[in-house]
Amino acid sequence: MKHLDRRALLRGTGAAIGAGLMASSWGQGNQLIRPTPHHLAKAKRVVWLFQSGGPSQLELLDHKPLLKERQGEDLPPSVRQGQRLTAMSGNQATLPLVGSAYSFARYGQSGAEISELLPHTARIADRLCIVRSMHTEAINHDPAVTFMQTGSQIAGRPSIGSWLSLGLGSNNPDLPTSCVLISKNKGGQPIYSRLWGSGFLPSKHQGIPLRAGKDPILYLSNPPGVSREQRKRALDALAQLHTEEARRNPLALERQEQAELAWRLQASVPEVADLSDESEETFELYGKDSRDPGTYAANCLMARRLLERGVRFVQLFHKDWDQHGSLVGNIRRQCRETDQGSAALVQDLARRGMLEDTLVIWGGEFGRTAYSQGPITATDYGRDHHGRCFSLWMAGGGIRPGMTYGESDPFGYNIVRDPMHVHDLQALILHLLGIDHERLTYKYQGRHFRLTDVFGRVPRALLG
């Protein structure tokens, strides 16, 4: 296989699927391709702690004392540069600058500047690479989250997890290649299944949500009154029937394989979801929420368990970072819910020797404005969406630790050094996994589609 162009292989696959050959399972099985990485991979797996709604970089990771000094002054036109605003604050008569209500300090040997809202994250400062120069074209949630997860603002493209499933396949046929964990009981801006969908890729590549409760995967449990043993006997009977059916159509044997895989899933998934074998000390590390399935902290712990078992891509969603108003109290609540779990996951991966080949990403779809949306009161303010400049952090998986990358202007409004576009981030993720983002393509509607469209550049400075 080595001498063959991988792209041609992928194209061949697209054609074959287009012609209706059956594409089966997410595991090795009889899948049509087993692609080789394009270069040596630093990371084997990814966990993306997605903070949905657009967390404010100005209260968390990008300290801007000037905003405090000039609080209440109008955003200077020289800073805004005529860039578009959302129609929420775009019609405000004034755009008053507002400084963070929370203080920052420097942490670790790297001296990373982190907010008092993130004490646990601050403790792992030297493991982090903080990026302060993220930018995106989108300014509304739906297009922006879709852009982050699929490389396009328009619905219908495959999610990053499904690209990885296509490009790298599975490490554990008994579990999905890409899993999604959504924090329970959260308000805020909705999310949607297309964020982990397979777009135009075959649906076996779609991300599978794992949920708290009886059925971590939809339809996983047998109906009441049907035992595992009984299911096994039914499966054996089905095997006999399929053997007979295969005389007419050999695909019946493949159908039986899938049924047996389903039976194994019925055991392997509850095993992952059952936290009872975790130590007291581990629960303490993740915080008390981690004992409550479906919380962010419990999902962080679950993420580690999935990654340990070979799941390629784990996507967490934590909603309600959309602080147009009442920012001061709400962002504190959001941080309380997420800070310890995020930091614990990094530490836990590190002590298990998994951090070096697991990429952890923390961040949202955009940042927030330097000016207040609505009036600044004695105790509160709000911030509108801001895509021109925002922050996130990464750790592990071949990312250089203990660094801060990129720089924003003193208003936290524009990027002045090392901009990193959403497509660059996507290119970087693929690069760390050994994939050339320009070569992982899939032919659909006559075009070779990529996660990064026709853009993306790997920011080399971030590579460890």
């Binding site: 287009g18 008569a93 909705p190 949500p209 949920r211 109906p223 299911r231 029937l241 007979e244 389903a262």
Partner: protein, 1022 residues
């Protein structure tokens, strides 16, 4: 069997196919830099046209026909790393075989093929046998294959029933078919299936994928939209065998047909089923341009099989579709009075919308319209009663009572706390919400506003569209802004579709509107001249309650002002958005009256006459109440005519007032009736076409050159006598010389029957697509389809009756009917076999079982499953929420419906088996079918045979019977020992449990049937 990729690449095809193969390679590897897109073309070289390839370039001639040694193209593709084409940076490579092929092609003369799909149909082949079978056999022979033997008669019936109706044959139908005359039974059965209403339901699903039909708007809030009347139109169209040309014309342009029927207008909802957003803060034009693009893309994919989308941002890289063509096409779809945002605070149907009255309602509406017209005429014809006038005038000349109908009078001269006193007795004061400045350049002073803070006036009437009224106030703008909100009673701008009434300054020109949903359902008049910056101007608006532009008058400084009518199409309510109070100076997410000043607001619940308005504008600051008391002031310049006009406008004219009351009552009844009607998003042209521009990189805020509506330049031109409208466009599609419409349609119907198409890529008939495996077959069917009057049922019947459809298998995948059933058919057959299915055509979508919490975790909304009938309708009617589609259907490869999709992939995953085993829908169906079989007086072997045959349409062999019997035996023994387990299993599902049956026996059978629902022979076509 020939591996299809090899067939596609044509490596086994005969020599004369060199040109298409070479062209395909050039298209894939070279066109990105040397193709139709002028903006990305490198070195000025274009290889998509022969003339370009043969032209002298900077470094020589790319292709010298017949001389590969003198062709730069051939030299470069074989060059070393420095010079090689495609360059390493492109990550594209040419294999040795491909290089060789190009060399041979150049040596053979480098003939360029014309792309097959843009060329006319090949002439049809005439054969004594069914031409389908002749041509399939020819294709098979190319690979050294022969047709397979036919399947058994019952397997054929299973195939035909499932592909034509989506449901399997019953045991009775199988028996009858086996007993019927072999010569005629297939044709008879096909006719029966085509005549069944299930046919239309089954055929609708793939078209609904293409039409991106869904019950919600998509995007994040993903609110419900009632568009099911369109779905029902599609079902009906297939069932009554609407010719395919009409099917297309109605959907694209039914509204423009002469004497369009309601059905034809309903069909145009096809163009409105794109996703829509109401996300706060979105830029309206950004999303409107997205909607127009979606219409073009859907049109391109669903009807032409072309990837128009590629040309939205730049010239197409592979197909001859320049960006200009994209926007020329967009111009056809750009011309409806729509908004880029639907309303968050109201449930207004985005305009244009069609009311859907019942026949009775339609009749009553017609009557009421006549009544209103009649009463309006009568009102005009009333003559003056001089005695009443005289009495009233005498009273007025000395009266001290406030003028009739005055409900609000706010002088804004001083604040009482944060309040602005209402001079009308007993009425609530206005409120100052936030900082304001008092200005002194008006008598008594006025208020200067910030633009972010409002004045609100509680207790004024919620004027409806039939309520007459008058509003007057003084304003002084400090600058002319694009838009400034002066006075309104509404909740928000885009977020409520501007529902309510509003007085704006638009570039300084006062405009007044009554709005249901802006812009398509509203009335707006706008002064032709701006007011003066820095000066106080009095503005008054009167409305006669007609809800029409003609019934609105605007007075500037007391003088009736010339206005342009911006919109005059208000048909629905202007209240009901939670609009709050009459408000000045600010509105939610809108541009307020920044640094503008206001004074003296007066509100009347009747239409004032002109002299009364003059009087209002002439007052300094004593206000109407005080001013009215002073005949000196008031009567200064009143003429006889003024008195008459004022009298006629007042309730004192009791004759007129009585007639007005009748008119208002009739208008109210009409309005209430219309407001109660359901309505549907459809197409309707604006009287003045919008100008359409090329959008640079597809961006809404980068308009370039203006374009006119025009069809694609790579296809035959439009009949010059046809209108330049969507109707012309639609008729162009079905012109006899159109090479794509009939091919795309035939391919789709073939795909319906075989699971795969004649063309490899139904979404792309262009250069980069995978062409037909037998073009002659495609073209013959397309030609004869047109010749038959686009008769869909006839086409399907012909294919179903072919030997090809009856063959056990076929070495050509695109002619082998065997495949897994669709998501819909799988669930439907479980309901059908169990007898649970409720067959009812059409209506609102239903909510069957769904695992709890799926909506909640995404959006906080709650999914409440139906009870009763809604659990058991065909899957076509299952509520489709775009951001959280029915999970079991997605796992079974249903299209996502976010955008146009013309092919569902078929995948096989373990999660599918879990659905069949554990989804309550299947468990319940298993239990109910188990009780059906147990209720029949049969032996166990007979029951086993019956169940197996029912589910697979064939009899089990002994090994199969034995496997089932073994499982049944074990399960029944288990359940006999554990009756609680049996009861637990039998409790699944909402339908009633047959308590007379032995629970262990019933539970055992339930397990057997549930297992069979995952059997390949049950979930597949034989």
């Amino acid at each position: 069997m020939i591996p299809l990729p090899l067939l596609i690449l044509g490596l086994l095809a005969p020599q004369e196919d060199l040109a298409p193969k070479a062209y395909a390679i050039l298209a894939d590897r070279c066109f990105p830099c040397h193709g139709p897109d002028a903006n990305t073309r490198k070195a000025g070289l274009r290889l998509d046209e022969r003339a370009g390839a043969l032209a002298m370039g900077k470094r020589g001639v790319a292709i010298t026909p017949g001389e590969s040694l003198h062709s730069l193209l051939i030299a470069r593709i074989g060059a070393g790393p420095e010079d090689v084409m495609p360059p390493p940076s492109s990550k594209l490579v040419l294999s040795v075989e491909e290089q060789q092929l190009l060399r041979e092609w150049v040596d053979a003369g480098a003939e360029y093929p014309r792309h097959w799909a843009f060329d006319a149909l090949l002439p049809p082949r005439n054969e004594s046998r069914e031409v389908i079978d002749v041509l399939v056999e020819e294709s098979l022979a190319l690979g050294g294959h022969k047709p397979a033997d036919p399947v058994s008669p019952t397997a054929w019936l299973r195939r035909a029933s499932l592909v034509l109706t989506g449901l399997p044959p019953t045991l009775e139908e199988l028996d009858q078919f086996e007993a019927a005359d072999p010569k005629t039974r297939k044709a008879t059965a096909t006719d029966r299936l085509l005549a069944s209403p299930r046919f239309g339901e089954h055929l609708a699903a793939p078209w609904l994928d293409a039409a991106r039909y869904a019950d919600t708007y998509g995007y994040q809030s993903d609110v419900y939209r009632a568009v099911w009347p369109y779905r029902d139109w599609v079902i009906g169209a297939f069932n009554r065998n609407l010719p395919y040309d009409s099917f297309i014309v109605d959907q694209l342009a039914g509204d423009l047909l002469p004497n369009a029927t309601r059905d034809q207008v309903v069909a145009t909802a096809f163009n409105r089923l794109h996703r829509q957003t109401n996300e706060g803060g979105s830029v309206e034009e950004e999303f409107r341009s997205e909607y127009v693009a979606d219409r073009v893309n859907t049109f391109g994919t669903a009807i032409l099989g072309l990837t128009m989308t590629c040309s939205r941002c730049h010239d197409h890289k592979y197909d001859p579709i320049p960006q200009e063509d994209y926007y020329s096409m967009a111009a056809f779809f750009d011309n409806i009075d729509e908004s880029g945002l639907y309303s968050h605070f109201t449930n207004a149907v985005p305009t244009p919308a069609l009311d859907l009255p019942t026949d009775d309602q339609a009749q009553r509406i017609e009557q009421l319209r006549e009544v209103c017209a009649q009463l309006t005429l009568e009102l005009d014809d009333l003559t003056l009663d001089p005695s009443l006038l005289a009495a009233w005038r005498a009273e007025q000349e000395q009266a001290s009572a406030p003028p009739k109908g005055l409900v609000g009078s706010y002088l804004m001269d001083e604040r009482e706390g944060a309040a602005l006193r209402n001079q009308v007795q007993g009425k609530l004061a206005g409120a100052i919400n936030g900082p304001v400045n008092w200005v002194k350049d008006r008598p008594g002073g006025g208020l200067r506003l910030t633009g972010d803070h409002s004045l609100s006036f509680v207790g004024n009437p919620a004027f409806r569209r039939w309520d007459p009224m008058t509003l007057g106030l003084w304003i002084a703008p400090s600058e002319h802004m694009e838009r400034a909100v002066i006075l309104h009673r509404s909740r928000a701008w885009h977020d409520s579709g501007s529902r309510g009434l509003q007085l704006l300054l638009e570039e300084g020109k006062p405009s007044f509107s009554l709005i249901h949903f802006w812009p398509g359902n509203a009335v707006r008049v706008r002064a032709t001249k701006p007011v003066t910056v820095g000066e106080w101007t009095h503005i008054a608006i009167t409305h006669d309650g007609s809800g029409r532009a003609a019934g609105l008058k605007m007075y500037i400084n007391g003088a009736l002002t010339e206005c342009e009518v911006v919109r005059d199409h208000l048909t629905r309510t202007i209240v009901g958005s939670g609009e709050g109070h009459l408000t000045i100076g600010e509105r939610f997410r809108d541009r307020g009256f920044r640094d503008g000043s206001v004074d003296d607001l007066h509100v009347f619940d009747r239409e004032l006459s002109a002299p009364e308005v003059v009087f209002m504008a002439r007052l300094d600051d004593q206000g109407l109440i005080t001013g009215w008391k002073d005949p000196e002031v008031r009567n200064a310049d009143w003429t006889e005519a003024s008195w008459v006009a004022a009298f006629e406008a007042s309730p004192a004219d009791t004759v007129r007032e009585a007639k007005r009351k009748q008119l208002y009552a009739a208008r109210k009844e009409l309005a209430d009736l219309v407001d109660s009607l359901p309505s549907l998003m459809v197409m309707a042209e604006m009287p003045t076409p919008r100008t359409t521009h090329i959008l640079d990189r597809g961006a809404y805020d980068q308009p370039g050159r203006q374009v006119q509506p025009k069809v694609l330049s790579c296809l035959p031109p439009m009949d010059p006598s046809a209108p330049t409208s969507r109707l012309g466009l639609a008729r162009w599609l079905v012109q006899p010389d159109h090479p794509l419409t009939s091919r795309v349609a035939v391919d789709r119907f073939w795909r319906l029957l075989f699971g795969r198409g004649l063309v490899g890529t139904p979404e792309n008939f262009g250069v980069q697509g995978i062409g037909p495996w037998n073009q002659e077959l495609l073209d013959t069917l397309a030609f004869e389809f047109q010749a038959s009057g686009w008769n869909v049922k006839q086409l399907l019947k012909r294919i179903v009756l072919s030997e090809t459809f009856a063959a056990q298998s076929c070495a050509i995948r695109g002619a082998d009917p065997r495949r897994r059933l669709s998501a819909e058919a799988l669930r439907d057959q479980a309901l059908f076999h169990s007898g649970l299915m409720v067959e009812k055509l059409g209506g609102p979508s239903v909510k069957p079982y769904q695992p709890a919490g799926l909506w909640k975790e995404k959006s906080g909304q709650v999914y409440t499953a139906d009870t009763g009938v809604g659990l058991y309708r065909r899957s076509l009617y299952t509520y489709w929420k775009l951001t959280s589609p029915p999970p079991s259907m997605l796992l079974l490869d249903a299209a996502k419906r976010d955008d146009c999709s013309v092919q569902r992939p078929e995948t096989s995953t373990p999660l599918q088996a879990l659905v069949f085993w554990n989804d309550p829908q299947y468990v319940e169906a298993s239990r109910v079918l188990a009780s059906v079989i147990l209720n029949q007086e049969l032996s166990q072997p007979e029951r086993i045979e019956r169940i197996f045959r029912k589910l697979t349409s064939r009899r089990p062999n002994p090994a199969e019977s034995q496997a089932i019997a073994g499982l049944l035996q074990q399960a029944q023994t288990d359940y006999a020992a554990d009756l609680d387990a049996a009861q637990a299993l039998l409790a699944v599902g909402a339908s009633e449990l047959n308590a007379d049956l032995d629970p262990a026996a019933l539970a055992g059978w339930t397990v057997v049937i549930s297992t069979l629902f995952s059997h390949h022979g049950v979930i597949s076509l034989p």
